[in-house]
């Protein structure tokens, strides 16, 4: 079964990469953007067909490796 883990920076954590992207978008003339925060997306396939089992596995993956919870949050979606 296909799933997705999305890692985002916690509110208040400085994101210089997001700022640089925001600046680049503005200089390209893409208007109406107030701010950009950069994150990461992991598309993961899991063996199980059981949704709650899959969520438990991905939660473990997020906590153990994919996110550093000092500065990041993560969200699990079973697709």
């Amino acid at each position: 079964m296909k799933a997705r883990v999305t890692v985002t920076l916690k509110t208040g954590v400085l994101d210089p990469q997001g700022k640089a992207i925001e600046g680049a978008l503005k200089s390209l003339g893409v208007e109406g953007i107030t701010s950009v925060r950069q994150g990461k997306v992991f598309d993961i396939e899991v063996e199980t067909q059981d949704k709650s089992r899959a969520e438990a596995i991905l939660k473990q993956a997020g906590e153990k490796l994919l996110a550093n919870t000092v500065v990041e949050n993560f969200r699990v979606e079973v697709l």
Partner: protein, 226 residues
Amino acid sequence: MHAAVILFPGSNREGDVARALRLGGAKVSMAWHADSELPKGTDLAVLPGGFSYGDYLRCGAIAARAPIMDAVRAHAARGGLVLGICNGFQILCESGLLPGILTRNAGLKFLCHMQHLKVGRTDTPFTKLYRRDQVIEVAIAHGEGNYTADAETLKRLEGEDRVAFRYCDAAGDINEAANVNGSLNHIAGIYSEKLNVLGMMPHPENLVEAMMGGTDGLPMFKGLAA
């Protein structure tokens, strides 16, 4: 003093730090990231600089989960000494041996230049040959050295006097301009609670002989071996 320098795929400062350790008087052996034990008789485990696993995911994140890190954790828990420099500091933070995380430099640039640091406490095996508040000049070379931690962690680090080095100017002044990578409280290095684990972004191992342009890093390695 028997030091074990741990080699991860992508480490590149292991030769430099091994040389500095030998100059200081230590016996040095190399350890491999996939080993489950440190060499017998290891007093000091050293995590060298470099780009372990190509900095994939987050700097140090994958190396921090390598088999040897369980042995390093056990070594530290027994009171054994651990030194992490640059990528080694990032690995120590990712492994939970030190609090916080090193994020992208505030100015986004990879910084590679000589840098002044102010020495913190000197009652540790790492800094006993320095003077408190001494200003030393060593090299920095990193893209992700911006030390970040939550307010509570920062308060604890300061309250327990666990900031080992801070970025400063040549006069020892801790001002905004000297905070090259945007680190909280100008933090360039921190100790663990028991002061036996030190992580730092700058490279003292690259300033240990006059021909390198300075010897301000040598007291660390002499002190460790003394």
